[in-house]
């Protein structure tokens, strides 16, 4: 059995073998052949296939599309064509060509080299939603980075398409690229509200934003919905949030400050964070009458106050320190401005020194106070001849000018002269009216050093001569010393200099005018005076000579041996008086100044030495005669002098002589009444008695008293004479007595004094 089955099997195998041998051979082609065949086919357009990159495989387009789709699916719906090319081992161009076919189906789109299916976008949308819910906000920008997809695509095909379906959130209306969840918005709002509530002062938005960690755009967007307690200064990033409480308090502060102080300082406002103080003030205090200055604003109240003060100042003739009335914050410039407007209406009645307004009256008072010194100085300067000298020099200079230069200089000089005259004449003419012009000039140059001289300042060359042109009669120091006290009392020491300068200018003008006047008067006087002095000197000399003659007559009553001493005394006293008169007159004629009335011998000699020859000789001769006791010689000398001086000796009027004698007598008596000195009393009594008894005057010294007493013996009653004699003895004793006796004698003399005084009266009576 077994063998047969074996053989059967062999048979079968043999059959199989035959079958195997008979089957057709697989037609195997070499690779080369295949490539050739396929390329031939493609060439003949009989075959449409795609090569793989390595060229070893062919694909039909259908296959490629299928593979691409498969790949897309495997990769979750998104595949890059480049990767696809690598993965499928197909040229990128081919992929791109067939990708375009795929895209036609609308299920898939080609974006930035990637094939993306709609279910991929859906997936992304879900992811985005998750993320959005997690983060609260999401921006397209972030998503583009994350998904490496164009923003456009994400925006339109994902976010906006699925918003409200797969994505629960909200698009930022101001920026469609940002999405929020409602919760996020609410949360942010709360955060912003909290921040804004907490702020008390203006804060830059950027600070708030950085603090709250927000996007600026979102902040601005939400701010509008918040009804925040404040306002934003702008919509830019540099804007500030100004809380209304801050604005309110700011306004309150401003209002309060203004109400309290009536002024507002820009600096203070700026410090409060107000960028445009002027505008702000205008807005806030729109119904106030404000004055805007450089550094601050002042209200009407201050102005009113100032005006009142000014009126009062003018009315009370005092001064007004503006600085004390104005807020201390005002700058100098501001004060000037305020003053300018303030003084506009009161220009005529006020003068401004620095910041102090003076009423004209006040200054006028000061000026009046200075007038005495002006007067004095003017007189002094005129009397001392300096003024005349100055005028002379000026005239000289002027004439020199005229000689040296051409006529226009002349004109100038004349003009200047005229002006000066005009100014001074104006001054002289009418005190206050003349001032008006001056005040204006001062207004223009309130602090100019040349207050009084500005009329000259346009002439440069003459400026240097100014000192020469203007004689300073009243110095600043003089004025200062006068006004100092009154100003110090007012506490205005600071302004002394300025006021003094101001006044000095005026006063000097006044003084000049005064001096001129005086000088003119003096000149007139001098002419007149010369005449006058001539005649008066003549008169005086006449009187003196007359006196001498009268006295001479008197002394002739005495015995001739006694004449000499009387004459000597007479010449010594009256003769020298005459000489003095001559000297004075001559000095005057020679323009020598004689200050004193009574000349000593030395002074006389000095004058005589200084005199011109014509006067010197006769005066010297006269002087010589004084020493001698010859009265005739004296008369001759006097005659010579008189003729030299052009004087004449008047005729002696006998009647007049009598009156003279009487006058002399009365004078002696009245002198006696007032006299208490014992010796002098005696002297006077004796002289009086002589005059009364002899109807003649006597000129005698005390030494000659005994002689006269003895002379009187014959004319007096016995008892009277004795009284006189006794008194005389007492006086003699008194004068010679030593100290211890002197007092006792003095008492006695005093007892007798009324007696002896009465004597004169009695004698006069019975005579």
């Amino acid at each position: 059995m077994a063998p047969s089955t074996d053989w059967d099997e062999i048979k079968r195998l043999a059959a199989d073998f035959q079958k195997a041998q008979l089957t057709t051979t697989a037609q195997r082609l070499s690779e080369r052949n295949c490539v050739e065949i396929v390329s031939k086919l493609i060439e003949l357009k009989l075959l449409d296939v795609i090569f793989t990159v390595d060229g070893k495989e062919y694909l039909t387009p259908q296959q490629l599309i299928k593979e691409i789709k498969d790949e897309l699916y495997v990769r979750g719906g998104r595949v890059n064509t480049v990767e696809l090319a690598k993965e499928l081992n197909v040229d990128l161009n081919q992929i791109n060509i067939y990708a375009a076919d795929i895209v036609k189906s609308k299920e898939v789109q080609l974006v930035a080299g990637s094939l993306i299916t709609h279910y991929y976008l859906e997936k992304i949308a879900r992811e985005i939603n998750e993320k959005l819910q997690l983060q609260g906000q999401i921006t397209v920008g972030d998503l583009t980075l994350q998904y490496d997809l164009p923003a456009e695509l994400l925006q339109h095909s994902v976010l906006e398409k699925y918003l409200g379906k797969l994505i629960c959130g909200r698009q930022d209306p101001s920026d469609p690229r940002i999405f929020y969840t409602e919760e996020y918005i609410t949360r942010t709002k709360a955060k912003i509200r909290g921040a804004l509530m907490g702020l008390l002062k203006p804060t830059p938005i950027s600070l708030i934003i950085s603090h709250c960690n927000l996007a600026e755009r979102l902040f601005l967007y939400l701010f509008d919905q918040l009804n925040a307690p404040g306002v934003l200064t702008g919509r830019q990033s540099g804007a500030q949030y100004v809380p209304s409480c801050y604005t309110k308090s700011q306004n309150e502060w401003v209002m309060n400050f203004y109400k309290q102080n009536n002024y507002l300082e820009y600096d203070a406002l700026t410090r409060l964070g107000i960028s445009d103080p002027k505008g702000y003030v205008k807005r806030v205090l729109s119904n106030e009458d404000l004055t805007f200055l450089r550094s601050c604003v002042i209200g009407s109240q201050i102005k009113q106050q100032l005006e009142n003060a000014l009126e009062e100042c003018i009315a009370s003739k005092s001064y007004l320190d503006v600085v004390s009335l104005l807020p201390s914050v005002l700058s100098d410039e501001d004060i000037d401005n305020v003053l300018e407007t303030l003084l506009k209406d009161n220009l005529k009645s006020t003068i401004l020194f620095e910041k102090t307004v003076f009423s004209n009256q006040f200054i006028e008072n000061l000026r009046q106070a200075c007038m005495p010194i002006v007067q004095k100085n003017a007189e002094t300067i005129v009397n001392s001849g300096k003024y005349q000298q100055f005028c002379l020099e000026k005239q000289l200079a002027k004439s020199e000018n005229q000689h040296q230069s051409h006529s226009f200089v002349d004109h100038k000089a004349e003009r200047r002269e005229e002006r000066r005259k005009k100014a001074s004449s104006g001054k002289v003419g009418g005190g206050t009216q003349g001032r008006e012009t001056k005040t204006k000039a001062v207004k223009k140059h309130p602090r100019s050093k040349q207050t009084a001289h500005d009329s000259d300042s346009d002439e440069a060359p003459s400026a240097s001569k100014k000192n020469q042109d203007i004689l300073e009669i009243v110095s600043n120091e003089d004025v200062e010393s006068v006004i100092k006290e009154s100003l110090e009392n007012e506490g205005l020491e600071d302004l002394i200099d300025q006021i003094a300068e101001y006044l000095q200018g005026h006063l000097n003008q006044t003084a000049l005018a005064l001096a001129k006047e005086l000088a003119e008067k003096l000149l007139q006087d001098a002419n007149q005076n010369r005449k006058q002095t001539h005649s008066s000197a003549q008169d005086r000399i006449n009187v003196l000579i007359n006196d001498i003659k009268l006295y001479e007559k008197g002394l002739k009553l005495f015995s001739s041996d006694q004449h000499a001493q009387f004459i000597k005394y007479l010449l010594k006293s009256f003769g020298s008086d005459i000489l003095s008169e001559f000297c004075k007159y001559a000095a005057n004629q020679c323009n020598l100044s004689v200050q004193v009335d009574v000349l000593s011998v030395d002074q006389r000699n000095k004058i005589m030495n200084d005199l011109s020859d014509e006067y010197m000789k006769p005066l010297r001769a006269l002087n010589v005669t004084l020493g001698e006791q010859n009265i005739e010689q004296f008369y001759q000398a006097v005659d010579v002098c008189l003729s030299e001086c052009g004087m004449i000796l008047k005729k002696v009027d006998k009647k007049k002589d009598k009156i003279l004698v009487q006058n002399h007598r009365e004078k002696l008596i009245s002198e006696l009444e007032n006299c208490e000195e014992p010796a002098l009393v005696l002297h006077l009594v004796v002289l009086a008695l002589f005059t009364i008894l002899n109807q003649n005057m006597l000129h005698a010294s005390g030494r000659q008293v005994p002689i006269i007493i003895s002379f009187l013996k014959s004319q007096l009653k016995e008892e009277d004479f004795e009284k006189l004699q006794k008194y005389h003895e007492l006086v003699a004793a008194y004068l010679t007595a030593s100290d211890e006796h002197r007092s006792s004698i003095e008492e006695k003399l005093k007892e007798d004094m009324p007696l002896i005084k009465n004597l004169v009266a009695e004698v006069k009576k019975y005579k």
């Binding site: 077994a2 063998p3 053989w7 195998l13 073998f17 041998q21 051979t25 697989a26 195997r28």
Partner: protein, 169 residues
């Protein structure tokens, strides 16, 4: 030695397991079965490789084999008859393959057209007894011989191409 291609074909032919000749009754059948299987495999391999180069069949006992073999040279197919007997000492002795059509035409041949196998074949076979069978003999013996001898014979003009209807098919 054999070239790389030959070695490869050789390795793809299944090896024999049974050592038996035509005298060993039962074992021979086993051996014959193995021979056939090997041949089938070989032919299949050849066909797959587009390298079919012979037809072979045997008698009932499987001791006598005959058929045809061919060689393509310059796009012309030269066909020769093939016959051989299984020697009694088979498988120790290799079968003597004969191409009677070429008898006397080449020096590499014994009387009766038995091909003169290379010096290498016999020791190779001896070493591989009993694992080598008919298929191996064909692949290692006849194949290389044809590849060497036929082009030379054609060159010498000893073998002429004969038009055959088979070829067209």
């Amino acid at each position: 030695m054999v070239d790389e291609g030959t070695r490869k074909t050789l390795s793809s032919i299944p090896l024999m397991k049974t050592k038996a000749g035509p005298r060993d009754k039962e074992l021979w059948t086993t051996r014959l079965k193995e021979e056939y299987q090997a041949l089938i495999k070989y032919v299949q391999n050849n066909k797959e490789a587009d390298n079919d180069w012979f037809r072979l069949e045997s008698d009932k006992t499987g001791t006598r084999w005959f058929g045809k073999c061919w060689y393509v040279h310059n796009l012309l197919k030269y066909e020769f008859d093939l016959e051989f007997d299984i020697p009694v000492t088979y498988p120790t002795t290799a079968p003597e393959l004969a191409l009677p059509g070429l008898d006397g035409k080449t020096a590499k041949m014994y009387r009766g057209g038995k091909i003169c196998l290379t010096d290498h074949f016999k020791p190779l076979w001896a070493r591989n007894v009993p694992r080598f069978g008919i298929a191996h003999a064909m692949a290692l013996g006849l194949g290389p011989w044809l590849a060497v001898e036929v082009p030379e014979l054609i060159e010498r003009g000893v073998v002429k191409y004969q038009e055959k209807s088979e070829e067209a098919k």
